[in-house]
């Protein structure tokens, strides 16, 4: 096992940050936006029947764990994922990995993480971290959301790994076993982008994808007449929290996806990626405007909620939906452009 010193990287999102760190350490250099994009992380879903704090979940990314599975499957990396029933066995195996110098990723609950600010310790079972060492009775944690290494006591980590609840972690542990010498990243990029576009455009229900964004705006308008102002304020605040607070790199992962498209452009040189990256950045700005408008509604000291304010937010959401539709319509036939990419690289090789 190569004993390369582990370098902590500050990332925007826990899951993609962990994958990028782990794979880079194992010898396959991959940045966070690339891990996010190829793992098919971008999404949108308004799930009214799934509630967190009595408010419907609004998710800007795919299910927790999808990035890990999809990324490693697409890249053809031999990967080990373990779940445990016995807590003691889980901690013992973790100690063994640490002793042998292997860096492993864990999924934990945010409620028991002691190095989090107390105001952020919500009941949330999908926080990803890396363990890179142990000193005395404390584990050295590389949490990509933080800018430096953190520590957590063994007992707290055990509780965090085995917290109960929705999508309980069950001691989830993962690490790369071996990386193939030949990884066809280009093909997988095309596949991933096409997959994401189709999911955003053609999802069967109107609660997912670009339809979901517009639907959320409609729901907001319906709320204006039905529910009391306090609930509306919380609902509107919830949109923002899901977008900005839960480490998304800004604008609900849209800026991260734009960074991914830019990296793909740098790698493959097709102008469509440059165009869509810029379009996605502009779309991200629009999402930030939504967040700002929602924060204004939350902050306002008036007793009632102005229907006009909600209408503005609904309009902005419709605009976001329209823009994302445009972007993904462009990217949907990306596989047919693959041959162009090959031609382009041949041409650029010839001209050099």
């Amino acid at each position: 096992m190569e004993q390369k010193p582990f370098r902590h990287t500050h990332a925007a999102h826990c899951e993609s940050g962990v994958m990028s760190s782990l794979l880079t350490h194992a010898g396959f250099e991959i940045s966070e936006p690339m891990a996010f994009g190829v793992g098919g992380g971008l999404s949108f879903a308004y799930i009214p029947f799934l509630k967190m704090g009595n408010l419907p979940v609004i998710s800007y990314r795919m299910f927790p764990g999808m990035i890990i599975k999809k990324l490693t499957k697409r890249l053809g990396i031999e990967y080990e994922i373990r779940r445990y029933k016995d807590e003691k066995k889980a901690m013992d195996e973790l100690d063994e990995f640490v002793r042998s110098g292997r860096i492993v990723g864990l999924r934990t609950s945010a409620y028991f993480i002691t190095y989090f600010p107390p105001e952020m310790r919500f009941q949330f079972n999908a926080h990803n971290i890396l363990i890179c060492g142990k000193e005395d009775n404390e584990y050295i944690v590389s949490d990509p959301v933080f800018d430096s290494l953190q520590r957590i006591g063994a007992e707290d980590l055990r509780k965090a790994r085995f917290a109960r609840g929705l999508s309980a972690p069950k001691g989830y542990l993962h690490y790369p076993v071996s990386i193939p010498s030949e990884v066809d990243l280009d093909t997988q990029i095309f596949k991933a982008i096409r997959n994401t576009s189709r999911m955003m455009l053609y999802a069967p229900t109107r609660m997912i994808g670009v339809k979901g964004i517009k639907h959320l705006g409609n729901i907001l308008m319906r709320l204006a007449s039905k529910k009391d102002p306090k609930y509306i304020r919380h609902f509107v605040g919830n949109i923002v929290r899901m977008q900005e607070e839960i480490g998304s790199g800004g604008a609900g992962f849209r800026f991260m996806y734009a960074a991914f498209l830019q990296e793909v452009y740098a790698r493959l040189g097709l102008p469509i990626f440059k165009e869509t990256s810029e379009m996605m950045t502009a779309n991200g700005d629009e999402w930030r405007e939504v967040a700002l408008a929602c924060a204004r509604v939350v902050k306002s000291k008036k007793d009632g909620i102005e229907k006009e304010d909600l209408r503005k937010i609904a309009d902005m959401l419709a605009e976001c939906s329209r823009r994302e539709k445009e972007i993904f319509l462009k990217l949907r036939h990306i596989k047919s452009l693959k041959s162009e990419a090959v031609l382009h690289s041949e041409v650029s090789n010839e001209s050099q």
């Binding site: 109960r164 919380h234 379009m279 929602c294």
Partner: protein, 247 residues
């Protein structure tokens, strides 16, 4: 760009109404169909902030629709406004300033999330816990990770939720002191949970927790169950049953 403000009052008397006319020409229209969200700071010298935003969406959108292309190369009201502003404020070299401005605009295609514009609002919640990371565009148009101390929007929204819980916690404490409810309600709200979340987290069914909320039932609970609750609430059994150490 160095410049002198034009001093001829007649020029101002003519150009300022034209400037205002350009605004009013666009303001009454429906929402734009374009997607450019550039912000031109030159407008803020003469108009309130929200007009600026609305106007930008309209002007760029109208132009995009007319030209049928995403890139804006045609001359529109915005460009006339830029030229007017340069004319007024940069008397000696206004033509040069206009061309430089247009050049600069075409270079960066318009992202608000530029590195220097990433909010660094020093959120209270992150105080002492370091920075968060966000993606932003640098002056060459390349994405890079930027450390941010927070955006006040996040703080506002989170504080709203926390204040709500703080209110519920205080009320729960009062009701416990009056003997109306068991300590579970206090600790549940203190740890930012509602009943379903508590049920998931502690592993006890919602209907049982509702029973345990009654002081009469709570008084008869066995020690192991109290210990289970107390461990989940990260406190001692004594503190859990009597709220002794709670301020």
């Amino acid at each position: 760009m160095e410049g002198e403000i034009r001093s001829d009052p007649l020029v101002w008397a003519v150009t300022v109404p034209v400037f205002i006319f350009l605004y009013r020409m666009e303001l009454g229209k429906i929402k734009s169909n374009g997607f450019c969200s550039r912000r031109h700071s030159h407008f803020c010298t003469l108009a309130p902030v929200h007009y600026r935003d609305k106007l930008m969406y309209h002007l760029r959108g109208a132009e995009a629709k007319r030209s049928g292309r995403e890139t804006i190369n045609s001359i529109g009201a915005v460009d006339i406004a830029i030229a007017l502003k340069m004319f007024l404020f940069y008397d000696n070299n206004w033509i040069f300033c206009v061309s430089r401005f247009r050049q600069a605009e075409n270079l960066e295609w318009g992202s608000e999330m530029k590195v220097k514009e990433v909010p660094q609002d020093k959120n209270e919640i992150y105080e002492g816990y370091g920075t968060k990371a966000a993606y932003a565009v640098d002056e060459h148009g390349q994405y890079t990770i930027v450390r941010t101390s927070g955006w006040d929007v996040e703080e506002v929204v989170l504080r709203d939720v926390l204040n709500d819980f703080a209110g519920k916690t205080a009320e729960a404490k009062k009701r416990f002191m009056e003997g109306d409810v068991s300590p579970i309600e206090y600790f549940m709200n203190k740890n930012l949970m509602d009943l379903p979340a508590l049920s998931y987290g502690v592993g006890i069914r919602k209907w049982r927790i509702r029973r345990h909320l009654k002081p009469s039932v709570f008084g008869r609970l066995r020690g192991s169950l109290l210990k289970h609750y107390a461990e989940f609430f990260k406190t001692t059994v004594e503190n859990f049953t009597t709220l002794k150490e709670e301020k």
